[in-house]
């Protein structure tokens, strides 16, 4: 197997479906050993099986833990440390999307969205940074969102969590650059995944009309950006927020 990520060890959170799964698959295709994180044992195992069927010889393994559970995150990273003595790439993808007008956003919803999208991202980055800084190299890729940069009516909580991810990315990039650990974010636009399956057709059409390239993106489009940021192609790139949005914001 040969590719842009040959021999690298990557951990992808929320790898069971959507952008996470596409990224894990793309990484495996490019020669990376991939740890597939998810909360569900069955889904992570199914994702691993699918990748192995698609990419013969792929070296993938489920790593089941909940990114909101500090103890579980620590245990998972300890396991990675013990088993592999390091980590080359972390893709912080695990996320939840909940929409609500500001007057109808409950405290519980706020905590849930922040807990997964921001707190979970922070916890994983915190442990990954330690493994990577010790090795003197690594790439952390945080999946943000176009709404984290530009906002969206009805998504104040989700947008706040994703804006937080950008602030976290920029700060970590500054803090970890001396250790040769790069930290970047990807801000996907309107991507065809299960997460947006519930968007009504009329609204979907209106959004697509606002995209300069006239179409929705795919999870593979985002995965390709992750390959770039995880590989040596981006060895001098850190602290960037890469929009993958078909020109939605220009």
């Amino acid at each position: 197997m040969s590719g842009l990520l040959d021999g690298k060890l990557a951990l992808v959170t929320g790898a069971g479906r959507g952008i996470g799964f596409a990224t894990a698959l793309a990484f495996a295709r490019n020669g990376a050993r991939v740890l597939l994180n998810g909360r569900s044992v069955e889904r992570a195992a199914e994702a691993a099986k699918l990748i192995c069927e698609t990419v013969p010889g792929a070296d993938v393994r489920p790593l089941v833990f909940d990114v909101t559970d500090s103890g579980a995150v620590k245990l998972a990273f300890s396991e990675v440390h013990k088993e592999y003595q390091g980590l080359d790439i972390l893709v912080n993808n695990a996320g939840v999307l909940k929409d609500a007008l500001v007057g109808m956003a409950s405290e519980q919803m706020f905590q849930e969205v922040m807990g997964v999208n921001l707190s979970g991202t922070f916890k994983c980055a915190q442990f990954a940074a330690r493994l990577m800084a010790r090795a003197g190299s690594g790439s952390i890729i945080n999946i943000s969102s176009i709404v984290g940069r530009y906002g969206n009516a009805g998504q104040s909580v989700y947008a706040a969590s994703k804006a937080g991810v950008i602030g976290l990315t920029l700060s970590l990039a500054k803090e970890l650059a001396p250790a040769n650990v790069r930290v970047n974010a990807i801000a996907p636009g309107f991507i065809e995944t299960d997460m947006i399956a519930s968007v009504p057709e009329e609204k979907r059409r209106a959004i697509i009309d606002g995209i300069k390239m006239g179409k929705m993106g795919t999870a593979e489009d985002v995965a390709n950006a992750a390959i770039f940021l995880g590989s040596e192609l981006s060895s001098y790139v850190t602290g960037q927020v890469l929009g993958v949005d078909g020109g939605m914001t220009i």
């Binding site: 620590k74 990273f77 440390h81 915190q126 442990f127 330690r130 800084a133």
Partner: protein, 81 residues
């Protein structure tokens, strides 16, 4: 090498100081060399030396050499008195 020697060496490497400086009473930010950046290097050195992964709370609590020994003991690293 004894655990005490390993500990001392981790401190020496991380803080870039002479080993004579490393006494139980040496405290975080007690000398210029033991700042927050060096503290994270110290954590890495200790984790490497003893093949452990410290909890974030323990990293924050590691306020002196004596405290480091106390914390490491909870990870099964014994120091002879």
């Amino acid at each position: 090498m004894s655990n005490a020697d390993k500990l001392k060496q981790a401190f020496v490497e991380a803080l870039q100081v002479n080993s004579s400086v490393i006494t139980d009473s040496l405290a975080y930010e007690g000398i210029r060399e033991w700042d927050s950046v060096a503290h994270m290097q110290l954590v890495a050195a200790l984790e490497e030396a003893f093949d452990i992964m410290l909890d974030t709370d323990d990293i924050i609590d590691m306020s002196s050499v004596a405290k480091a020994k106390e914390i490491l003991a909870r990870y099964g690293v014994a120091f002879n008195r």
